[in-house]
Symmetry: C2
Subunit: 597 residues, 2 copies
């Protein structure tokens, strides 16, 4: 049975020492988030994840979801009770506005909790995760009465939410979508069409399901400029808030997937279902983007989550499994063999995962704090800078954390040898579940194009210049700090590679956009390594300070510094290869005729 | 339904133009292997794979194997008929000695056929694959009467073979194995113990199953020097060759695995089963190594096989799926969108797989030819040099081709977006099936240690010096060939990185073996890139020659050269990062106490 322990300590180090959230106690909700409160909240959340979510992960994978002939869908045994424990504990509304029943705490805490629940049980975590995304879209774009009808029920978790974008012939290219909306004359619309890959589209855990649906109003322009967003409840809601008749939406089938078996991925058939417009007509993509950005961050979190839980299990196995002897002679001569954690290649593997996990967690906390600032600060300049950061880092977080999260789940599985290939070990599930995160909410190639094609040039490159300035300033400020020597120099080298790649795009991709397209994925990963490297430099600095305080955390801080050193020595050098690939340009990529592939 | 077409053309280019096998027609069996014969044989093999094996791949995965209460195991529908078509066509004995019913053709052809069958249906291909490995071990080490009893039946495919090494507590570290062999006094032994992860351990496709089993003779020394190899048939064989009573070996359960569902992975219980010693007592590992080296090569082939079939399906999808427009403007304005193969990031992904596949195929053909020379040449020096090559390249082929084969299956799956995550697409199966190849026959970390810890230093480094000399000489000879400019320079740079890494080990790992251990995986991959780069340089040279012949192959040769250019520009640069990681040494890897992981 796989193990999981939520890394509360590591989060507290980030929130107290690296990005002290106390600095932000002028923001709404932050004053309540004192270190003690935060630690208590996260410890409670950890308990829920470890005791209610994690024990259902493997069984949920094996049992999967079942669609019955009447179109209803059963979730795996125990899922409803665990979901109820989550909503009953108020976790859905952790950082939602108090006026809708939430607790108004920083969304940073919700991001942390997303990591914990996703590590513990990704398939189960998706039900509330999608609901939170749907709430976010409603809060920004829905008219007041719609908000009042739906949001409180969703915050309390009595109703869940979904996103309905994809159709059989259109995923990335939403301009092709065909689902149509015909005005009923009473302000409502009649929605007809087929949506696929709808996570949590139908299930048995709640009374009602609130579908957010992209559709084209009859007569609207073709392409992306004719798409509108609608809310379509499974059951219509009466004036008093109670549930009325069944709406014309149903689950036609559920998919047989590689992983996340415990989440029902549905084909949803809309057959004249009643819907209400959210936001302006034909501006549905804008409204959906709110949800998508939240969702992309959350998917980045999922990448880390699988890497973390896979790592924990690999470490436990590596300490337990006796096989062979250390190269430098037996470490446990009284045992029949040494535990495999003595072997350098095992340690290298584990450290490369650990160095990613802790760096990625820092990147997420940093970015989540920016999200809080962007939404809650009263200072316009601060909001803008935070928003710049969010826009720039969202594709990096989504693309890099899910690519590497998957790779790490594979590496962790490898530590088990043949035992990792057997489903009972749980390692296969981490790999299979992690795989989806590279695909949904915009496949990672799309994230790379978003970064290179849109985010870099936006507002004259203001966001990326802001990032370069911040990292550059850190390097300059700490250039003479002997204790950071192993961190600042490699970070500076990585930053220089990133800046050179950016400059190369400026000089070579304006006239020839294929040069950007062919280098986009390498650039996204180059960016990710530098961002993680910056996180490690900041963590090393904080660890040095904390160690000097002599409060008993010295061993932990030493481990932090050793892990950081490993990152700098073993993971940073990749920037050179990424730069080399980018600057070869698109010629070799574009030359081949399609029929020669 | 996934597609598969065996790459006969590409193989013929390798056998005729790159490594002309006609040069070797003085070797036994090669005289019969004229280009026409080879093409006819491979085309027939291709047909079998495309028409009999491939159509059962997805259904075999979904159906899996079933163990019945009596210990018998059913394979998926159609497997037995496809296996019979394979054996009926004489494929098992393609390169086996004629005196045992084989056709005596070069084993290179069998390696090629292994790729085809593994691409078409890996789980099914393993049944004959393991049998061929078992035959190889028997041919080298078994006494004449044992060979006569078992080998002809296995060559005709009436009986299959297995390898029984692993036990619950011992995989890599075979010194720990406990299965015991007690002499019966009549020259036979009574074998008792439990073996796990036994592929094809029990099934319903043949009359008898021939288990090769490692066990410890009562009173033998502890550790690896007390292990012997036995043959243990499922049914005892009578003097006239007919089957007698059931032996004391049975399948206790079958594993629930991530992939290769169509292959029965068994727990085998030996309960006083009758066995016959193969080779010398206590020298079982030596005998098993014959089988393991063959098997490691074959597993490298499996890595390529999944990359190839996944690539073919990704290309088909990329030409068919309409989504978005080319960055340089619509390529198919009459269609609702362009096929995604117009997008640079899609092409980059596909080309990186294609460049690997063709390079890996060359590496396998080159190495298979060396195997033929090592086994069949009458020239001792030629045999030794070929054997050096085999020993050195086996861990590279196994480790690198399976790591990258898996990565490529994942990349190919990514091309499908959400559709690739649905089992019906078949892409998930390629990923799940490819995953095992990184694990079995020695997990890839073990391959890296074999390369760095054993193969490099063997015979004073003779093998690796031979490799460096060959690649270096090629670079020197072709340094002034303008048409190879884009190939020789990057290869030279890669070779220099590899030589520098090798030198670094010589200077730093003798006194401190952890420096070798911590750099082993990076070194194996560095070696792999250079070996693949050398293959590309040789292929480019052959393509130039062929193109000049003007025999209508110009388009194909252009595609070859373009793919090679992509390899050199996009995949070779990784050598620098690998070198940088190796030369940081083991300190950061070994510093952390186990409890801090």
């Amino acid at each position: 049975m796989p193990v999981y322990k939520a890394p509360v300590d590591d989060v507290m180090f980030l929130l107290n020492d690296v990005f002290p959230i106390e600095r932000h106690n002028n923001l709404p909700g932050f004053a309540d988030a004192t270190p003690d409160v935060v630690e208590a909240v996260l410890s409670e959340g950890a308990k829920l994840c470890e005791e209610a979510f994690a024990p259902l992960n493997l069984s949920g994978d094996q049992e999967g979801c079942v669609r019955h002939p009447d179109g209803s869908v059963s979730t795996p045994k125990g899922f409803k009770e665990a979901y109820d424990a989550y909503t009953g504990g108020g976790w859905m509304g952790l950082s939602m506005p108090e006026e809708y029943g939430g607790q108004g705490l920083p969304s940073t805490l919700n991001t942390v909790m997303q990591e914990f629940v996703s590590s513990a049980n990704l398939a189960l975590a998706m039900y509330p995760g999608l609901t939170q995304g749907a709430i976010a879209a409603l809060l920004v774009h829905a008219p007041a009465d719609i908000k009042k009808t739906y949001v409180p029920k969703m915050v309390e978790g009595t109703w869940t939410g979904t996103m309905n974008l994809t159709e059989p012939h259109c995923g990335t290219d939403l301009g092709l979508l065909k689902t149509k909306a015909v005005p009923n004359g009473d302000g409502t619309y009649s929605i007809t069409g087929t949506k696929i890959f709808i996570s949590a589209g139908e299930h048995d855990m709640v009374e009602n399901i609130v579908h957010l649906v992209l559709a084209r109003i009859e007569g609207a322009p073709a392409g992306t400029k004719g798409i509108s967003l609608f809310v379509v409840p499974k059951f219509l809601v009466k004036g008093d808030g109670s549930l009325g008749e069944r709406n014309g939406v149903s689950c036609g089938s559920i998919e047989h997937k590689m992983g996340i078996h415990g989440n029902a991925t549905c084909v949803m058939n809309y057959d004249g279902a009643k819907g209400w417009l959210i936001g302006e007509a034909n501006r549905g993509l804008n409204a959906m983007f709110v949800m998508m950005n939240e969702a992309r961050m959350a998917v980045g979190v999922q990448g880390l989550s699988q890497s973390e839980v896979a790592y924990q299990n690999a470490v436990a196995y590596a300490k337990d499994r006796l096989q062979g002897r250390a190269l430098t002679g037996a470490k446990y001569p009284d045992k029949p063999a040494d535990p495999i954690i003595v072997h350098p290649d095992v340690r290298r593997t584990l450290l490369s995962i650990k160095a990613f996990n802790e760096g990625a967690r820092a990147l997420l906390v940093w970015t989540a704090l920016k999200s809080d600032i962007a939404h809650r600060s009263s200072d316009a300049a601060e909001r803008q800078s935070a928003d710049d950061h969010m826009g720039l880092l969202t594709p990096v977080v989504k693309g890099v954390l899910t690519d590497l999260g998957f790779d790490n789940a594979v590496k962790a599985q490898q530590m088990f040898g043949g035992h990792g290939y057997i489903e009972e070990s749980g390692m296969s599930q981490f790999v299979r579940d992690a795989r989806i995160a590279m695909i949904y909410e915009g496949a990672n190639g799309i994230q790379a194009m978003d970064l290179v094609g849109r985010k870099l040039a936006k507002d004259g490159g203001r966001a990326v210049m802001g990032f370069f300035n911040e990292v550059g300033a850190f390097c300059q400020e700490n250039a003479n700090d002997e204790s950071l020597k192993g961190f600042v120099a490699p970070l500076q080298k990585g930053l220089a590679d990133l800046q050179q790649a950016t400059m190369w795009f400026m000089n070579n991709a304006m006239a020839k956009p294929d040069n950007a397209g062919a280098g986009a994925t390498d650039y996204m990963h180059l960016f990710g390594i530098v961002a993680l490297g910056y996180m490690w430099a900041k963590m090393a600095k904080a660890a040095n300070v904390r160690k000097a305080q002599g409060d008993g955390a010295a061993d932990k801080m030493d481990a932090k510094l050793m892990t950081g050193r490993f990152f700098m020595e073993r993971l940073m050098p990749e920037t050179a290869t990424r730069l080399a690939c980018i600057t070869t340009g698109a010629d070799a990529t574009m030359a081949m005729p399609a029929e020669a592939f």
